[in-house]
């Protein structure tokens, strides 16, 4: 079941949670809504579910207008951040709830309910906990029960609101890959909200990056990480270094380095900022052509990647530059703290800066 969102806007008092958001979720896709808190991602998810009504705009399920459809009739599965299990019921009754509240004509028999609940509990590997109450389960177990409960009504769409947000790091990682496998098996259209960029990039087919109620970029994890469409996406997804300079007719001058900027041919003497990922900075002891001098300030060499913090020699602002190199390269260079090095961005994106100095 595909989902389409057209020009959604939603206001909470004076706070604009969503501003003219449009989005298409393909059938069978696992989509992540990624953004900082207050970016409108949860509101968007709740509007899709029908738990919140948008001020303007449309929601379409499989092409049909669902904007004014009651949440009950949308047949979505919803997983809450804090599980929202029914505390007065056993795990079995929690999962069975969606089947039991159906009108008599559509309600499965007791045997069918029992069958389906046990099948789902097996799927989430918690069949042995069927008679327990929610408070007797760990956070990870509760969230798996919540997922089984959502799936019990055979939803056409699965919506997850920060499903792993309340869990500790290890359980979160486990559940993350487990969710991915589950999705691959079931092929149910799924949208999940997260503020954890690693989670979004690792699990989702496509990522929607949101900020201040707007969509900043939609793309595969690779696209949004490697080709961020805006400074915000650059800064939100991973570490980034900023180099200030000027743009003029397809050429850019960044701290004395002159480079081509073919996508900015119309720019007329604009202030610009180059965004460079830490692993896109070439570092050397000798100067080869245009390069910026810097000094090693800090070395963190845990794991296969060595992270360096450098201080620019030529710039007054003592902003640190983050560089990531492989351990091999690190051994080749034999760097110690205080060494003089030369750096050169090997890949970067230029954005005209909003504030012209």
């Amino acid at each position: 079941m595909s989902i389409e969102v057209r020009n959604l806007s939603k206001q909470f008092g004076t706070f604009a949670a969503l501003r003219d958001v449009s989005l298409k979720v393909h059938s069978g896709e696992l989509l992540a809504l990624l953004g900082p808190s207050g970016s409108g991602k949860t509101t968007l998810l709740r509007v899709i579910a029908g738990l919140e009504a948008a001020d303007t705009g449309q929601i379409l399920f499989q092409g049909g207008d669902a904007t004014s459809q009651h949440v009950r009739d949308r047949h979505v599965g919803f997983v809450f951040q804090h599980y929202a299990l029914f505390r007065n019921m056993t795990i079995f009754e929690n999962v069975a709830f969606g089947l039991r509240v159906r009108a008599k004509a559509f309600r499965p028999t007791e045997a069918e309910i029992s069958n389906r609940v046990h099948r789902l509990l097996k799927l989430v590997q918690l069949d042995w906990l069927a008679d327990r109450h929610p408070h007797q389960l760990s956070g990870g177990q509760r969230q798996r029960v919540a997922l089984a409960r959502a799936l019990a009504v055979e939803p056409t769409v699965l919506l997850l609101d920060e499903p792993f947000g309340a869990l500790d790091a290890k359980v979160r990682k486990e559940l993350r890959s487990w969710l991915r496998r589950l999705h691959d098996d079931m092929q149910i259209t799924s949208v999940f909200v997260t503020h954890d960029q690693e989670e979004a990039l690792e699990v989702a087919d496509r990522v929607v990056v949101m900020n201040e109620g707007c969509i900043e970029q939609i793309g595969t994890p690779d696209e949004v990480y490697e080709r961020p469409a805006s400074p915000f996406v650059y800064e939100f997804l991973g570490k980034v270094n900023l180099f200030h300079g000027r743009l003029h007719r397809g050429r850019a001058w960044i701290d004395g380095l002159e480079v081509d900027a073919p996508e900015h041919t119309e720019a007329e003497n604009l202030a610009a900022v180059a965004y460079v990922r830490p692993h896109d900075i070439h570092i050397d002891r000798m100067i080869h052509g245009g390069a910026l001098p810097a000094r090693v300030f800090h070395i963190l060499s845990v794991g296969p990647i060595v992270r360096l913090e450098l201080i620019r020699d030529d710039s007054e602002d003592k902003e640190l530059i983050q560089v990531e190199i492989t351990k091999e390269r690190f051994r080749e260079l034999q760097l110690v703290r205080g060494d003089q090095v030369f750096i050169k961005p090997s890949r970067f994106d230029l954005f005209p800066s909003q504030v012209v100095h």
């Binding site: 979505v76 929202a84 029914f86 709830f97 969606g98 509240v101 408070h135």
Partner: protein
């Protein structure tokens, strides 16, 4: 094995207790603790235990025959009946109102919510006598609706309806006040989950909301009932003290006492004291259940 463990514990704790004089950083000196506990005990004895015992002592002083006669004479039985009727009407009505108000306040956002919360508290902040007077001013013979009621031969003041009304008014806050914080702490996520799963409003309320507050509801009901049966001030104003007709238990006690019929007064009062003790026991039981339930809640 057990003994062995015990001795080892003693050998460890002995030097701590005697040699080092170890005590918690937040402990007060022994004399401060003893004084405070002593003051509290003296206070409780003087103001609670002695009066309570004296009620039963005075009631039974002239023998059980007098005691039984006092609580089985027709006027006393009528007073008991009226008290039970007033409570039987006031408590269920306040149960419904309290649930509805708490549900609306805790689970929904609407205009005038703060005003509603203030209004629910009003009976606590107004003197019961004033609460009674309000009804006299509205329904009394000289009141706003008095002439019309008299024309249509409807009796409210100095009759059972007035007593029921006054009782309802005075006991409004108990159940709502008990449920609002509980429901607010529980939030609306479970209800949302139920609705997403296809439950309608009634199913959500009866299967999710109500079971989640059942102990709090019972607790509020017990307190509400105790107050409904024990209310004096407001009921006294609207009752008219007509023996065998508009006398509740507390009013009956007052009348007997004013007539210097102490044995009977204390006998009837002992019923109210018993009610209080039963209420306390029930309250303690429900509280322990409730605490267990809230422990569960906090884990969520």
């Amino acid at each position: 094995m057990l003994l062995h463990e015990d001795t080892s514990v003693t050998t460890i704790s002995l030097p701590l207790a005697t040699g080092l004089h170890r005590k918690g950083a937040t402990d007060e000196p022994a004399w401060v603790r003893r004084t405070l506990i002593g003051v509290a005990l003296i206070f409780l004895t003087l103001f609670l235990f002695v009066p309570l015992i004296s009620v039963f002592y005075e009631a039974l002083k002239k023998g059980t025959d007098v005691y039984l006669a006092a609580i089985t004479e027709p006027d006393a039985v009528d007073a008991i009946k009226l008290t039970l009727i007033a409570a039987a009407i006031a408590v269920p009505l306040n149960l419904i109102f309290g649930l509805a108000a708490a549900w609306a306040i805790a689970k929904f956002e609407f205009r005038g919510k703060n005003l509603l919360i203030t209004l629910i508290d009003l009976p606590f902040s107004v003197s019961p006598v004033v609460s009674g007077l309000i009804y006299v001013l509205i329904f009394g013979l000289q009141g706003w609706l008095g002439p019309w009621l008299a024309e249509n031969d409807i009796k409210i003041i100095f009759a059972v309806p007035g007593i029921v009304l006054a009782t309802i008014f005075v006991t409004v806050p108990f159940i709502a006040r008990e449920l609002i914080p509980l429901m607010q702490a529980q939030g609306t996520e479970e209800e949302e989950a139920a609705v997403v799963l296809g439950a309608n409003g009634w199913q959500t309320f009866f299967r999710i909301t109500l079971p989640n507050v059942k102990w709090g509801l019972l607790y509020g009901t017990i307190l509400c009932n105790a107050r409904a049966m024990g209310e004096f001030g407001a009921v006294s104003v609207v009752s008219g003290h007509i023996r065998g007709s508009t006398n509740t238990l507390p009013l009956h006690v007052e009348i007997l006492y004013n007539e210097y019929n102490f044995a009977a007064a204390f006998a009837v009062a002992s019923l109210l004291a018993l009610l209080a003790l039963v209420t306390l026991a029930l309250k303690t039981f429900v509280e322990s259940k409730n605490r267990w339930h809230e422990g569960e809640l906090n884990e969520h």
